[in-house]
């Protein structure tokens, strides 16, 4: 999957969980400050992303995923490691 494909699939998850338009889920956006994804919604996004991309995102890692770009990069790194 390309970076854009991962971003787009992640945007669909954010849309489904938090009702945020998928178009606004861009790499430079902060989940909490720009997209209003609170910590409980973030848990849901993480669980759905784990299933979708076949990665494991531990609780202690979640706080490092501040922007959509952070999450996409984490997914890319851990998909290729698998």
């Amino acid at each position: 999957m390309s970076t854009e494909e991962i971003r787009s699939a992640l945007a669909d998850i954010v849309n489904e969980v938090a009702g945020i338009p998928a178009d606004s889920v861009q790499l430079d956006k902060s989940f909490s400050d720009d997209l209003d994804v609170d910590s409980l919604s973030m848990v849901e996004v993480v669980v759905e992303a784990e299933e979708k991309f076949g990665v494991t995102i531990p609780d202690e890692e979640v706080k490092n995923l501040k922007t959509v770009g952070d999450a996409v990069a984490y997914i890319e790194r851990n998909r290729s490691a698998a």
Partner: protein
């Protein structure tokens, strides 16, 4: 050597009556927000809770239990003397011994019914229903009372942002007894003690008493890990309870999860792909999280408001400190 004679009970058991007690005092979010530097909007968005009930000094674990049980007995058309066992599920009976259940059994006017408390936190009520179902079917109780009751306001830290707005007080009760047809499905239950620390009293009593400034060992909770476990692992447990009872989501009428947080209920319903025909319990909105009392309180309300009708299939799933969990499908009385 003479072999022992053994007894068995009827083939099937069911819930025969439901009762509830809600404390008189309604506590809106506006009374909570200052101590946790929060807002009504944040609490509602975070949990769905608008108001909750907190007990006053006269609304004790025993008195609330007795009130809920009396209504359940009346609903079942039974007299207290017909009850053979009283099970009280609670984590907030602050007298270590004896159990609350013996006092409840006495005040109800049972004929020295067996009585004991169980400690399975928010999962306590569904544990109690499983025990009562087995007791009736094994012949060790003709009729059993299961009561979930809490005064969590006593053990909640009003300054803890993670819990102060969540926990509340109340009691709910059911009567379990014999039935012509199965009324309580197989229980799916278990524990995950690896996460013993996720929800717990901050300290044990010895640590409290040896401290320079003794204070109530309030409940502490790791919110996000608990949210993840409850939303996803418990959706699987709920699905297993349906499968074990041979019921599909399309045949289900009511979904009554422990009223922990509306966001958990939403995530579970989505994970289980519940159809819109299933009525979902939302008692938490004005009852808060009453731990062991939440499921019977929600069931009682759904019956009163016509959302759950006699004969409906309701899926109960309870989960909490331990971590412990239990789920079963029941027929609404």
């Amino acid at each position: 050597m003479t072999g022992l004679r053994v007894e068995t009970g009827p083939a099937h058991a069911a819930l025969l009556g439901v009762g509830a007690y809600r404390p008189a005092r309604v506590v809106p979010n506006s009374e909570i927000v200052d101590a946790i530097d929060s807002s009504d909007e944040w609490i509602q968005q975070r949990s769905g809770i608008r108001t909750r009930r907190w007990a006053d000094d006269s609304e004790t674990i025993v008195s609330m239990s007795v009130a809920a049980a009396q209504e359940a007995l009346q609903h079942a058309g039974l007299d207290a003397r017909q009850i053979d066992c009283v099970i009280v599920a609670t984590v907030s009976h602050l007298l270590q011994t004896p159990s609350a259940a013996t006092a409840v059994a006495h005040e109800l006017g049972t004929d020295q019914a067996a009585a004991f408390d169980i400690s399975a936190a928010c999962a306590g009520f569904c544990h109690g229903v499983a025990l009562a179902n087995d007791m009736v079917r094994a012949g060790s109780a003709g009729y059993a009372l299961v009561i979930g009751v809490e005064r969590l306001s006593d053990i909640t830290d009003p300054t803890d942002r993670g819990t102060a707005f969540i926990f509340a007080d109340g009691a709910g009760a059911v009567v379990v007894g014999p039935s012509e047809t199965p009324g309580i499905g197989p229980v799916v239950w278990g524990s995950d003690g690896e996460h013993y620390d996720h929800i717990r009293s901050r300290e044990d009593w010895r640590d409290v008493l040896s401290s320079e400034e003794p204070r109530m060992p309030h409940l502490a909770m790791k919110g996000n890990p608990v949210f993840r476990w409850a939303s996803y692992s418990m959706a699987k447990v709920a699905q297993q309870a349906l499968d074990r009872a041979g019921v599909t989501v399309d045949e289900l009428d009511c979904f009554i999860p422990h009223q922990a947080n509306n966001r958990i209920t939403d995530a579970m319903a989505r994970a289980m792909r519940l159809p819109s025909s299933v009525s979902i319990a939302r008692d938490i909105v004005d009852a808060g999280n009453t731990s062991a009392a939440s499921i019977p309180l929600a069931l009682h309300r759904m019956i009163q408001e016509g959302e759950a009708r006699r004969g409906d299939l309701a899926l109960l799933v309870a989960f909490g400190a331990g971590l412990s969990y239990a789920a079963q499908v029941v027929v609404v009385p």
